[in-house]
Symmetry: C2
């Protein structure tokens, strides 16, 4: 089975209460690829980079089974650059700089060699571009997962609603779910969003875990309580990569298996925040992942006897 | 087995985005008693009320097995009165009025008939009064659970630290855990607090669930995602009542059973918020509780195969 991931590959400058990096590789598709490559090969990447994106990073990705045929390299422009600063609680951040650079011209093209992919992960991007990727697929993928953000709800809501009708799973955070639905209660928000198109909705709550809604079912996965969070950047994309990676590996898109996929995604995300950028994602092994998943099992297991 | 609960019995005026009540019965010991009475009898109540506290409320409690021998009735003073207004997100509130009234003279006395109680729930109160109750017990109870709040950390921290050395379980919310420990990370906060005395620490995170820490173990229980929260007042006390009620019923104070107790407490709290004051707590049956607990089991159950 194979997986297409669409999104940004970029540079970030990040400041958190625990440190600072001036230039580190980032981007939604980078994090998704590193996370998903633990479960499935090839990862068919669609993105755009400038002349300055490090060749060794591309090599590292290729070694992990990431196919970069769909990554456009623009020889006279810089890569997308984002700079942000996290507040003390790490739950909120200020964007300091957004230099679109190559992203201004991004027009994702699905290479012929990607056409047989059964899983499609649409990273956070302009909704029109997400739709264009879906429309280029000659056979509809078995599962389309999409991420988005409040920015598109502000400036491209109608386009966003069109894409929503075409996807199976939507990933948003709690504030975004509230904004998209106009409901304060997450349960009511979920019910409204499930009527907009997606059959499954994942609401990410950062350090407070994630909720999965499907029909009248709801599943909750906690985030692992961590001693130290060094840098939350990319945690949501890493979650998405682990989530769709597990689904693509198992080829099972039942609600039951989606619950497992959420735990896998949460486990992967818990590594991501331990170092700046995607560094930690390059170090972890299958045994590290299994151990962390076992911690999740411990974290929520209880016995109850209804007598 | 029997349970002593110490705390306030009061009147509240509450305003939430969904309504308003000018005068409704409240108080920590009221909520604890209603919740715990589903599991254990008698509930040996220690509190203080004024001439205005409704006789029918006392009768209702007695019917449920609440012993009010330890409830002092002051014939020329009013009951404690609290008034507050919740913000739109229901996670924060402003206190509008605090009329201590009878609470100014509260000097809790443990009646002789309560002396054989094996479980002691110290509701949120001045630390010196909590300590006095512990010191009056001729035989140390099998389990002492204490609630407290940021207010006592501000004005009576040294007294609070003395009580902490004498209790088995501390219940606080996340902000209080951070304040008490001086640590932002809840894991680090928990480690520090566990060194201050209690062997078990429950950190309540409201709609984001609760964490139980013990030695190097951690357990997470979600809050049930609810369509509507009408009034969060008393949810924390109801949680405490369900928690200690289950422990007192089963007489098992292992970490394993504490996990179950947290689920039971969370289930009870999820009813409390459905109506203003303790109204909903008077309606629910054992079958309602069992059904809700089953929802918690569904909410967090997943299968994972580490291969």
């Amino acid at each position: 089975m194979s997986l297409i991931t669409v999104g940004t590959m970029a540079f970030d400058a990040i400041e958190t209460p625990f440190g600072k990096v001036d230039k580190i590789v980032g981007g939604s598709a980078t994090y998704v690829a590193y996370a998903a490559s633990n479960f499935v090969k090839p990862i068919n990447q669609i993105s755009i980079i400038g002349y300055d994106f490090p060749a060794e990073e591309l090599e590292e990705m290729k070694k992990r089974g990431v196919n970069i045929d769909g990554v456009e390299i623009v020889s006279d422009k810089k890569s997308f650059f984002w700079s942000g600063k996290y507040h003390m609680d790490m739950n909120s951040r200020d964007t300091l700089i957004t230099d679109l650079n190559v992203l201004e011209d991004f027009n994702p093209i699905v290479p012929d060699s990607y056409q047989d992919s059964e899983f499609l992960m649409l990273g956070n991007l302009m909704p029109k571009l997400q739709l264009s990727v879906i429309q280029q697929m000659k056979v509809r993928p078995k599962l389309i997962v999409m991420d988005t953000m409040n920015f598109w709800m502000d400036i491209a809501l109608e386009d966003l609603k069109v894409v929503l009708k075409e996807v199976d799973v939507l990933l948003v955070n709690d504030a975004e779910a509230r904004q998209l639905s106009g409901e304060v209660s997450l349960v009511k928000a979920a019910n409204k969003i499930l009527e907009m198109g997606p059959r499954f909705l994942v609401i990410k709550k950062g350090e407070h875990g994630a909720l999965l809604f499907h029909e009248s079912h709801v599943f909750f996965a906690p985030a692992l309580p961590l001693e130290e969070v060094i840098d939350p950047t990319g945690a949501g994309d890493t979650f998405a990569g682990g989530f769709i990676g597990h689904l693509a590996k198992t080829k099972d898109i039942s609600f039951k298996n989606m619950k497992t996929a959420i735990i896998v995604g949460s486990a992967l995300a818990s590594f991501c925040v331990e170092k700046f950028g995607p560094e930690r994602m390059k170090e972890i092994t299958k045994s590290d992942i299994d151990q962390r998943i076992a911690q999740f099992v411990d974290l929520v297991s209880f016995d109850i006897d209804l007598v």
